[in-house]
Symmetry: D2
Subunit: 153 residues, 4 copies
């Protein structure tokens, strides 16, 4: 299926050994200064007992986009901090269905010292939609993430 094999996925240092993001099958479509766009196809293991996307799975897709937007995607020497999620306010607006293309678009909204605020919007569109950063479909989740930059262990 074309949606499970996108033409390209971008590299990011934090994706090494990120087994959860790998399991979700995320393609990285865009990376910038405080921005990221990812997409995947909603699989059966991502559904709940009501036959729609499990909220935790939509959250997890958004959370990966959030982490990619928070952390620098270019190699840095002597890089001694990481940025993690301190918390999130998430609103589930509409259901998503098996086989749909899920796209999460993250953008930094505010930043002060070691704290940041990011908005991640999650969209769903029919299964045959090509994996691109454009036309992400109908809005299903609004996720507002709070980041903290901490020393790397």
């Amino acid at each position: 299926m074309s949606e499970a094999a996108p033409a390209h996925t971008l590299a990011h240092p934090i994706l090494t050994d990120d087994y959860a993001t790998e399991w979700m099958g995320l393609s990285v479509l865009e990376l910038g200064d405080g921005t990221a766009t990812v997409s995947t196809t909603l699989r059966r293991e991502m559904l709940n007992g009501f036959g729609i996307a499990h909220g935790g799975m939509l959250f997890a897709i958004a959370d990966s986009a959030f982490a990619l937007a928070c952390n620098p995607h270019t190699p840095e020497e002597g890089h001694s901090t990481i940025t993690v999620a301190a918390g999130v306010d998430v609103n589930f607006l509409a259901p998503a269905h098996e086989g749909e293309l899920i796209t999460a678009v993250a953008a930094r909204r505010a930043h002060a010292g070691r704290s940041g605020l990011y908005d991640i919007q999650v969209f769903a569109s029919p299964a045959d939609t090509p994996h691109t950063a454009e036309a992400p479909g109908r809005l299903v989740v609004e996720f507002r993430g709070r980041s903290r930059t901490i020393p790397q262990r």
Copy 2:
């Protein structure tokens, strides 16, 4: 491994065909009027690139406990509504590690009309901890869920 094969797991109508909860390997330890406790072992596919639990996976475990607490666990005839997550405020307090036992404890906090407010606390404890509702370990996530009861399609 004893932690992957708990002595028992309780039945709940919404678990039928809940493929996400199944994938997470959740055991249902307790169910009551507005309460639920679940547990699982943190697997490799639940880790992010920092080598700790992916926030989305901890969220998903809590979200399943939330859904179990929101919806009646006893069979009801002519049951025509379902209760879903409208939104969540989640705070990530401490990391959790591969192999640890994760326990999510959900309890209703307030309720008015078709809206409810639930607190779900997620705990982590060492891998050899038995799956029980007692002594759930250190607190890693505070999840406050907002529910809405809607007509069943």
Copy 3:
């Protein structure tokens, strides 16, 4: 003082007998379909013991903008519902000081059935800034409000 006596303030049905908004001295600068902009000068009674704006007062200014954006500003006959705040996620990003001009800009972000999601941004700028909808100053609060439309009692 020019900032306490703006040239104009717009009318809105919900402002009748809104004693709290009156006490805050809010000027209504803009009203649209799902949008509103208000401003006021930060007075002494709006300060906390740290000598900066009390979080509750900044919240209250944003909350009034939210209510104005949620409810229709044009007269409606047989109008039988009102829209109220069900909840809010608010982030305090920077302090605001006595005498500063505070501007709150509300805009609808999503809407489904009787539920809505609004973003209200609160800005602070020096005391001699004119009350206009433009150039609102530095961002001090991000307020995301969840609305519910309910029958009027």
Copy 4:
């Protein structure tokens, strides 16, 4: 009126020159390690155009209880930090009415490094209820506050 003149109010260092808390007429009924209880009578200037308590005013009462619980109430020498609200998730559960006694009860829920998580519950009860920490009435607001400890300027 007995509700406007409670028998006692406790002292706390951050209340000096806290003009907002003074304006709200808050009585401090209890102070402990990470806890505080305050009360006041809902006045006309705290009402919105729907004739019920303005959400911002209920928020402000809770926010003052939060600040009292976050900061030490015993004098400390060489005390060089203050704790402020970084953000809040608030849920408005029921309306409150003019003349009612409003009580806000704050308690620390979690704490790690310079970050804390506090729950503040706001209750309303009829006007002739005595100002005490017991029997606070019906639950009208659930407020979950995120604190940050920062150097004092």
